[in-house]
C-alpha cells in the first residue's frame, strides 16, 4: 500500500507541476511580481516533491507513473484572481492527497508526507484559499 499511495501522490504532483507551469506562463513577472514569485516557488516545490516521490517508487522496485499526455486546464485563467483560485484549489487537492499518504505510510515517509501536507495548507491559504480546521484531513 505504501507504494500505491506514493504513486497516487506522484500522479498528483505531475499534474501540479504542469498546472504551475501554466499558471506562471499566464502571469506577468513584471506587473504581478508577487504572484509570479509565489507561483514559481510552488512550481519548484512540487517539482522537488515529484522527483522525491519518483525516487521512492524506484526504491520500492516499481515503475513510477508517468505524467499524463495532457491535462485539462482550469478555466477561465484570464485574471490574476482566477490564477490564484486555481492555485489555491491545487493546494487543497495536494493537502488531501498527502493526508491520504500520511495515513498510508509510516516513519520518515510519513514525516515527509506531513511536511508536504502542512506546506500545501499554508501555500493554499497564501493563494487566497480559506483556512480550515483540518486541511487535508478529509
Amino acid at each position: 500500500m505504501t507504494t500505491a499511495a506514493l504513486q497516487t501522490a506522484l500522479e498528483a504532483e505531475h499534474a501540479a507541476v504542469w498546472l504551475y507551469a501554466l499558471l506562471g506562463a499566464r502571469t506577468s513577472a513584471s506587473t504581478e511580481s508577487e504572484l509570479h514569485a509565489a507561483l514559481t516557488s510552488a512550481y519548484v516545490a512540487h517539482r522537488a516533491r515529484r522527483d522525491t516521490l519518483t525516487a521512492l517508487v524506484i526504491d520500492d522496485g516499481e515503475e513510477p507513473v508517468a505524467a499524463a499526455a495532457s491535462y485539462v486546464a482550469p478555466t477561465p485563467l484570464t485574471t490574476s484572481e482566477e490564477v490564484r483560485t486555481a492555485a489555491a484549489a491545487a493546494e487543497t487537492a495536494a493537502a488531501a492527497t498527502y493526508g491520504f499518504v500520511v495515513a498510508s505510510t509510516s516513519g520518515e515517509r510519513r514525516r515527509t508526507a506531513v511536511a508536504a501536507l502542512r506546506d500545501a495548507a499554508v501555500r493554499g491559504l497564501g493563494f487566497g484559499g480559506a483556512a480550515e480546521d483540518l486541511p487535508g484531513g478529509d
Binding site: R110, A131, L134
Partner: protein, 169 residues
Amino acid sequence: MAPAALVVAPLLAGCDDDAGSSDGVVTATGDGTSADVARVDEALAAIGTARTQAAAAGTTHATLAPALAPLLAVHDAHLDLLADASGADDPTDGTPSATTDTTGPAGTPADPVLDPAAALAAVRTTETTLAGTLTDLAVAADSGPLARTLAAMAAGVDQQLLLLARASA
C-alpha cells in the same frame, strides 16, 4: 467539513485495510491502540496549553482578541474532536486551567504586562511548537486515520500562524 463524529470513529481503531501488510505500513495491535490513546492525551494537553495562552493574551490585550478568535476556534474544534476520540470530558471547560498556567512558552515566568506585540509573539512561538508536537505525534501514531487527523491539525495551526503573521504585519 465532515461532522466530528464521522471523523472520530476510526481514529483509534489502530488499524485499517493495511493492517498486517508485509511492509508494516500501519501496525494493528492492541498495544498500538493503547499507545495511540496516550498520543491523543498528549495532543489534548498540548493543544489545551496553547489555547490557554492564546485566550489569556486576548483577555489581557483586547486589541488582540479579534486576531486570536479564529485560532481559538480551531483549537476548540481540535479539542472537541480529540476529546470525543478519547472519551475525555469537554476539554474546553477548563483543561488545563488558565489559573494554573503561569509559565511562558520557554518556561519563563509569564508577564501579564507584556505589550501586545510581545504577547502575540509568545503565542506564535507556542503555536509553532504545537505544530511540531502534533507532527511528531502524527509520525508516531499506529493508526493511519489518527496520523492523518493529527497531521491535519498541525496544518490547521500552520494556517492560523500565517493569519496571525498577516494580522501583526
